[in-house]
């Protein structure tokens, strides 16, 4: 179980950027294009701060 959680963590961590891109792009259907644009800017700012 622990190994599975660890592997899932690695999987999500390694692919965090493309997964976030899919969420932001598909999320447009829920919250519209302006919020997606805002999320892109905020996410970029966060990553620039911590990475």
């Amino acid at each position: 179980m622990r190994a599975m959680i660890t592997q899932t963590g690695w999987f999500v961590g390694r692919s965090l950027l493309p997964i976030s891109a899919i969420v932001i792009i598909l999320g447009t259907m829920l919250w519209g294009p302006w919020i997606s644009l805002l999320l892109t800017v905020v996410w970029w700012k966060v990553v620039t701060k911590i990475g």
């Binding site: 899919i22 932001i24 990475g51």
Partner: protein
């Protein structure tokens, strides 16, 4: 079942290293992201796109995200494949490589040539045309010049010169032509679906990916560096220690280690870094506690207090800052002579 056991049992002949499943997953997620963006462009009512400005906002957000991940997908992810192929089969490597880079705006052969033949073999020397131009004092041109003028303009000129002069092998020109034709066949598909969509959600992201993401990454990897020498064997690159950065970027931050030992698998670089740490400290290597994103933000600063470039090249991670002098002085006193740098890692 763990990935390692899957690798050993069901797919034992597919992957060269079990961790390479992450490389493949990353690229597949990138293709899915492009597919989602295309689908919403073609069905604007689903994405609440009603006006021209809504469309502009959608393209702004989607193109930036797509460009960001495409730059990483080619510049970091496919990059790993150029050093250590991810599949065991030659054909799988060739064809997956072609499919890997077309969404980043590159024929795989061209990127492989730029990185392996030009950059890795000649890092920081004058014939490494992948890097920023150098000023008279050895520092790089501004990051803005590099981002706006290098890709695709300088790349195109240099690749043409290399392929017509035979740099990289006897049949390099012929291979380049064949690979370019295969690339064009795949790359042109979005234009047949909707040319406006192709410009906004295919060409624009690829410019962002190559010029902004990959361009700023290449810049900060080697800013402040110098060609390898006996006295400065590890000053050709900078190593980045941010855990978040290395987690999401396939450990590309361990760049000195990568350049000196390119065949060490990307997943093993953190452990390899620990092994190399004394050597890095001793040779006065440039090691910083953050990642490329923050580094690019620093070198892009234009302030009254001095340039961001100077600040960056003088930054040093804790634990790498004071020790080199102490260690060097200690050893000099002990040996009564000069420190001989560049000994190989045992």
């Amino acid at each position: 079942m763990s990935q390692a056991s899957t690798y050993k049992m069901g797919k034992k002949r597919l992957l060269a290293h079990p961790q390479d499943i992450h490389c493949i997953a990353y690229h597949i997620f990138c293709l899915i992201a492009y597919g989602c963006a295309f689908w919403l462009w073609l069905n604007p009512e689903l994405a609440k796109i009603e006006t021209v400005w809504d469309r502009v906002a959608f393209v702004g957000g989607a193109a930036y995200m797509l460009g960001w991940i495409s730059g990483v997908d080619v510049g970091v992810n496919f990059h790993n494949h150029t050093h250590r192929r991810v599949f065991r089969s030659k054909n799988w490597n060739k064809w997956f490589g072609r499919i890997w880079t077309f969404s980043g705006g590159w024929p795989s052969f061209f990127w492989n040539h730029s990185h392996v033949v030009v950059h890795h073999a000649n890092v920081m020397r004058d014939n490494d045309w992948t890097l920023p131009k150098k000023k008279a004092d050895g520092s790089f041109e501004s990051i803005y010049s590099y981002v706006f003028f290098h890709w695709p303009w300088r790349y195109a000129v240099h690749l043409y010169q290399d392929f017509t002069s035979g740099r990289g092998g006897r049949h390099v020109g012929r291979t380049a032509l064949k690979e370019f034709a295969i690339f064009l066949a795949m790359w042109s598909v979005p234009f047949f679906i909707d040319w406006k969509m192709a410009l906004c959600l295919w060409v624009l992201p690829q410019w962002i990916g190559n010029a902004v993401t990959m361009g700023s990454g290449m810049y900060v990897q080697h800013a402040g560096g110098m060609p390898k020498s006996k006295d400065r064997p590890m000053s050709h690159s900078t190593t980045y220690l941010s855990k978040f950065f290395n987690l999401t970027m396939f450990n590309i931050g361990y760049h000195i280690e990568h350049h000196d030992y390119p065949h060490v698998h990307w997943s093993e670089l953190p452990a390899f870094h620990e092994k190399m740490k004394p050597k890095l400290i001793e040779s006065g290597a440039h090691v910083v506690p953050y990642g490329y994103y923050k580094a690019a933000a620093i070198v892009a600063q234009i302030s009254k207090q001095g340039s961001g470039y100077e600040k960056f090249v003088n930054d040093q991670a804790p634990g790498f800052a004071e020790e080199p002098v102490a260690r060097t002085d200690e050893r000099l006193a002990r040996e009564g002579g000069s420190v001989e740098a560049g000994a190989s890692l045992s």
